[in-house]
């Protein structure tokens, strides 16, 4: 059978659909940031950025960039009406104290038990940088991960056990890949959705840990 993986925008849009109105959400650097573009403009969703703002709005119009109004990825942003600023202590109180409803992070690897690796390849010459990823991994009420289902070399990113250094232990709730939506459950990985045309066997073959399938996945 043939199937078409989701584009990055389609993946972002798919995650956006699962974010309810009124949620406090932190979108990690990279693909997760793109999700903001697909949130329903009719819904009020509160975007948090760990450098100290809540109620983050879209990029400013050209010429209106303010170097003191940036997001965690150091991109220029705006503040929505009703948003506010605060210091790093208060910002991480939000993140670590269970006040952020959903965070969306990228991943190098996700293990079947919800372990996440996304900050360090472990290579000897790599310069590690962690930022707020470990705080979000342990502190958000729900941790969503977006990732390609396999690496550019075709290796599974969902694995039995992470070989890269961990970001957090058992922290992932749901994985959104370009091929499937997979919940991390106490009973293991449960596929909730697959792209049209893919078979269970094909998906399993590209996954390094055992998958279970919900009834609506043919």
């Amino acid at each position: 059978m043939t199937y078409q993986p989701l584009s990055r925008d389609q993946l972002a849009a798919r995650v956006a659909r699962d974010i309810p109105e009124g949620s406090y959400v932190n979108l990690g650097i990279g693909l997760p940031t793109r999700i903001a573009n697909f949130l329903d403009p009719e819904k009020e969703i509160f975007l948090h950025s760990e450098n100290g703002l809540l109620g983050m709005g879209p990029a400013p119009a050209p010429g209106e960039e303010d170097p003191e109004l940036i997001n965690a990825g150091k991109e220029f942003v705006t503040l929505l009406t009703g948003g506010c600023y605060f210091h790093h202590g208060d910002s991480f109180t939000m993140m670590r104290g269970g006040h952020i409803d959903i965070c969306v992070l990228g991943a190098f690897q996700i293990a079947a038990n919800g372990d996440l690796a996304n900050w360090h390849t472990g290579a000897a010459d790599a310069i590690p940088a962690v930022g707020g990823a470990m705080d979000l991994a342990v502190g958000a009420r729900k941790v969503f991960v977006t990732t390609d289902h396999v690496t550019k070399k075709g290796e599974p990113k969902i694995v039995e056990r992470c070989s890269y250094p961990l970001t957090g232990v058992g922290c992932v709730d749901r994985i959104y890949t370009d091929l499937a939506v997979i919940d991390v459950t106490p009973q293991g990985l449960l596929v909730q959705e697959m792209v049209p045309g893919i078979t269970r066997e094909q998906l399993q073959a590209m996954t390094g840990a055992a998958l279970q399938f919900s009834a609506n996945c043919q």
């Binding site: 809540l54 009703g82 506010c84 605060f86 109180t93 670590r96 104290g97 006040h99 952020i100």
Partner: protein, 219 residues
């Protein structure tokens, strides 16, 4: 559209259940959410654990809640005052449990709960009755006591102005425990003197961001 405002104080406290832990803002009567407390008395929830700096003054507010015998336990720093007769009577009759906490440990433990810490080594109380039985440790030549977070099911606080997203600003020394309790409770209910339009509060001046507030009511 998200609108956290509710119509009445009675609506705001309707969800508080028997046996809940309830933080109540205020230092003496400054910042005490009197209307929310009155509504809680009318609502009838019992067997409450209350977290407050004091244990009530005179016969209104928290003192009236005590008098109505709704409080099983109080966690506070300064129960005994010239006008704390409601608490004094219950305490001497053995009808209320008291956990006495130094004020800074009270603030710090509330903050620890709000910020997700598991426990903190604090300097206050080392070598005193209030650290008896607690783990201690010497760190860089100073002595510390291990203290655990104080969290709550509900916080009732008073602010000056709020908007429909729950952003709050306070007035003078009525601010006191409001901002830190708001972060430490599952459900924070704020009474405000005025609900203002979204955007009316300067984003640089919001003291409690709306993420920490679930409901607010103008009184």
């Amino acid at each position: 559209m998200i609108d956290k405002t509710v119509a009445t104080a009675a609506d705001a406290v309707a969800q508080i259940y028997d046996g809940a832990t309830v933080m109540i803002g205020g230092f003496g009567s400054a910042g005490q959410p009197a209307e929310l407390i009155d509504a809680l008395i009318a609502q009838g929830a019992r067997e409450l654990t209350i977290v407050n700096n004091n244990a009530g003054n005179g016969d209104t507010g928290l003192a009236a809640l005590l008098k109505a015998r709704r409080v099983k336990k109080i966690i506070c720093s300064f129960p005994r005052q010239s006008d704390s007769y409601e608490f004094d009577a219950l305490y001497r009759a053995g009808e209320i449990e008291l956990e006495l906490v130094p004020q800074g440990n009270l603030a710090c433990r509330i903050q620890a709960a709000g910020s997700g810490l598991g426990a903190v080594f604090t300097p206050t109380g080392y070598g005193t009755l209030l650290a008896q039985g607690k783990e201690t440790r010497e760190i860089n030549g100073k002595h510390y006591v291990l203290e655990y977070p104080i969290s709550a099911d509900f916080a009732l606080i008073k602010a000056q102005q709020g908007d429909r997203w729950g952003n709050l600003v306070y007035r003078k020394t009525a601010r006191n425990f409001g901002p830190i309790m708001a972060a430490a409770a599952k459900v924070t209910i704020a009474q405000v003197s005025e609900i203002v339009a979204l955007g009316a509060l300067d984003p640089e001046q919001v003291v409690t961001p709306g993420i920490f507030v679930q409901q607010l009511v103008a009184v």
